[in-house]
């Protein structure tokens, strides 16, 4: 009988995440959930719905948009906001919009202005003092050492040398003036945990995670999907229909696809388990500034 009562690893992860979500709601003045529409965000949103059921999660969703996400992401975003009964805030950095910043012409400036600056602007505009993010510690080395409650200065900088110790399940959410907190409720989940949880709980995710025939071009060793007519084809470039899927989702011109036939969730998990490259490999952003790229970005205020 004892056996049937044993909590599985997913039970324990879920309980921990729900505990974190509730602590923030109890102690922060104005929390928000950063929603990027990826699979990690999907799980985080599902956990929030569980944590506060039958109430809707008592905070809005914030999408810091770049206008360059996949169309399928915008569709799921709007659907999930409706279904969860939560307010959806979409923020566009007005300066980036005005200057027409895009990933094709502006390189790293695109991420910097739309995402890093956009996030800071949005948080300041609404005065949110705690923002949930779907980052996981297994994604990247600097994240492995980041706390679940991660404090940011008034200018949104991160000081990795000056983090508060986190003991047991006791979180100190007290802020100094001007500080805000990034909270990572799924810190202890791995990519495989996320997939298993989606599978077990039928969590809705963007169809791009599943293989389908899609128009693609190959550039700098990455397979890019031509998601809309804004994609500037180089002379001689011709979109080719390939059966592809995505392991992570971001701005479509920056997100590499993998060729795949995995059309169902179990097939996707199977492929994930058999693959030999890490999930962030498809993202251009980690490759800046050598191994310390992400750490540097975080100190500057990237989520």
């Amino acid at each position: 009988m004892i056996d049937s009562k044993r909590l599985t690893h997913l039970d324990r992860l879920e309980a921990e995440s729900i505990h974190i979500l509730r602590e923030v709601v109890a102690e922060a003045e104005k929390p928000v959930m950063l929603y990027s529409v990826g699979k990690d965000s999907a799980v985080m949103l599902h956990l929030a719905r569980k944590a506060f059921y039958p109430s809707p999660p008592p905070f809005p969703l914030l999408h810091v948009d770049t206008t360059w996400k996949f169309q399928a992401m915008y569709a799921l975003r709007d659907r999930m906001a409706r279904e969860s009964g939560m307010e959806l805030l979409v923020y566009h950095n007005p300066e980036a919009q005005e200057r027409g910043i895009n990933p094709f012409d502006h390189g790293p400036l695109h991420t910097d202005m739309w995402k890093t600056e956009g996030l800071k602007q949005a948080l300041n505009l609404y005065g949110f003092d705690a923002a949930f993010g779907g980052a996981r510690r297994d994604e990247e080395k600097s994240r492995a050492k980041e706390r679940i409650f991660s404090f940011r200065t008034a200018s949104h900088g991160w000081d990795p040398k000056n983090q508060r110790p986190e003991l047991w399940n006791l979180y100190n959410a007290r802020k100094n003036k001007g500080e805000s907190i990034r909270v990572f409720p799924i810190s202890n989940w791995t990519e495989l945990d996320i997939w298993q949880y989606i599978h077990l709980n039928d969590v809705p995710i963007v169809p791009l995670y599943f293989a389908d025939k899609r128009p693609t071009v190959e550039r700098d060793g990455m397979l890019l999907m031509v998601d809309d007519e804004r994609f500037p084809l180089k002379p001689g470039e011709e979109p080719v229909m390939r059966s592809i899927r995505f392991r992570t989702l971001g701005c479509y011109p920056l997100t590499g696809a993998v060729e795949s036939e995995a059309k169902t969730l179990p097939e996707v998990i199977q492929e994930t388990l058999l693959t030999t490259t890490s999930e962030r490999q498809g993202r251009a952003i980690d490759k800046d500034a050598g191994g310390a790229g992400m750490e540097k970005k975080k100190q500057e205020g990237y989520f």
Binding site: T8, K145, K161
Partner: protein, 640 residues
Amino acid sequence: MTDTLTKTDEPIYKTDALIAQDIDQYLKVHEHKTMLRFITCGSVDDGKSTLIGRLLYDSKMIFEDQLAALEADSKRVGTQGQEIDFALLVDGLAAEREQGITIDVAYRFFATEKRKFIVADTPGHEQYTRNMVTGASTADLAVILIDARKGVLTQTRRHSYLAHLIGIKNIVLAINKMDLVDYDQAVYDGIVKDYTEFANSIGIKAFTAMPISGFKGDNITGPSDNTPWYKGPALIEHLETVEVDQVSDQEKPFRMAVQWVNRPNLDFRGFSGQIATGTVKVGDAIRVLPSGKTSTVSRIVTLEGDLDEAIAGQSVTLCFADEVDCSRGDVIAASDNPPQAADQFEATIVWMADEEMLPGRPYWLKIGTQTVTATVQQPKYQVNVNTMEHLAAKTLDLNAIGIANLSTDKQIVFEPYDTNRTLGGFILIDKLTNATVAAGMLHFSLRRAQNVHWQATDVTREFHANLKNQKPAVLWFTGLSGAGKSTIANLVEKKLARMNRHTFLLDGDNVRHGLNKDLGFTDADRVENIRRVGEVAKLMTDAGLIVITAFISPFRVERDMVRSMMQPGEFIEVHIDTPLADAEARDVKGLYKKARSGELKNFTGIDSPYEAPQDPEIHIDTTGMSAEQAAEAIVARIIP
């Protein structure tokens, strides 16, 4: 040498064939995995990072692109020559990678068919006691690494003591680098014998020893041909099968700290929290603490539908059959076996801040979902983590561990830490900086809290005040030395006396000749000085007096503490605001001169800070008025 770390290995728990053959079946198996959180203790020299790197590598947690990056990094900054330096995989932040040390707690993940593992990786350096305690607080098990060539070292004792202190019951003694002692059983047996003696002496009842080589892979995933004399489990086998505390927690009485009250509409009121211990069923009788009100559980609500039963570790929402007052910070417990509430305790305290502990200073104490104000007394003793000796201590510095009594401003629901980690483990938070400055573990409540009852007196404070025909108050003067506090306070008292008011002036210098003559001028003593004066002033307001105090009282937190001791409206903070240059130029007692010359230490304004009030009831700018005018202004404010 490098071949042991390349892809020639086929660890038994690596990707199994089932993934390729029948993914649905594979997923079913893996849905029933359990989780084990453990901590690895040891220094870089013990091969800790190499061991963790190997666990990740063997369980396929290192991908090709990461391996390529690792190979490149190893050549650039590695300490293993041209070989792969697994420490680089495990060490995270840029700054410390360059220094070649791990300075913080990092969490790593890997999984086998039976379990998911979360590894807290903490450094072995002495100054990082705080990190190890942090990593250990969530661990089910500790792996203590020993270099077979060196045996039981001071740091082995330290790590074991800390793991035991934080209540880890499963201890693995991994005797590493066996390849470097030719897999000699005698070396292994000698170390086990030494360790057994030590473990017994500090109360560790059981541990599991094993001979391993993280570098060569011996006894990591399966039995090694190099140690035929060792019959015990390999490290992974042990980690996969060892019983976790979670199971024993279920057998304890039910307790859940309320995090959040869920009230979407008038028809629903649920209490959300994570069950600390025990199980709860629909129909169970429960008691809400500290109020003691009882009810029964009517529903256990989740998004997927109601449950009949929930167990320790789960996050749930409970509804009651009756309307019972219950809010964040309360504890819901089995009705027939509830925990106690108290406000005075003995506790172990691990100090985690650069600034030393100040006995008597109020800190926030967070335990479960309760946050209260607590003051810690001077430690009974400090423990030397290397020798386990008890040392006399007046305070606790960074990484110091001490035993001390503490008191809270209201009763908290608790259980001894060794019975219940959730209701016995707490953190202390600095009220000014909001930093987490300490972790602590409650031992027991002091009987005093239960047995000393408030003596109700028939002649009440109202009666005293009416007799004197006045409203009691505390005029709390604060300001730099030489600002004019005593002069102005004296004038205020004279004016009040002429108006037939019953007053009493408590002067800093005078009190230090009597009541507080045992106190010096360290930060800790200043805090205690103000606490005592506050208590005396409080008794005098009970007697109906208008109390005037003249103390530098440099710290905001202590002034706020005294404010919180008084009835609302009775504490009147008077800031005698004189620029430092003016006070120093005046230097009536010649103290600034002494402080400047270094003859006098801890002098406010010179080498000790003054925290000016942010919003005092009365602000006196001495550059714009005489002492007489100031006194006039103050009296006008309090006697309408």
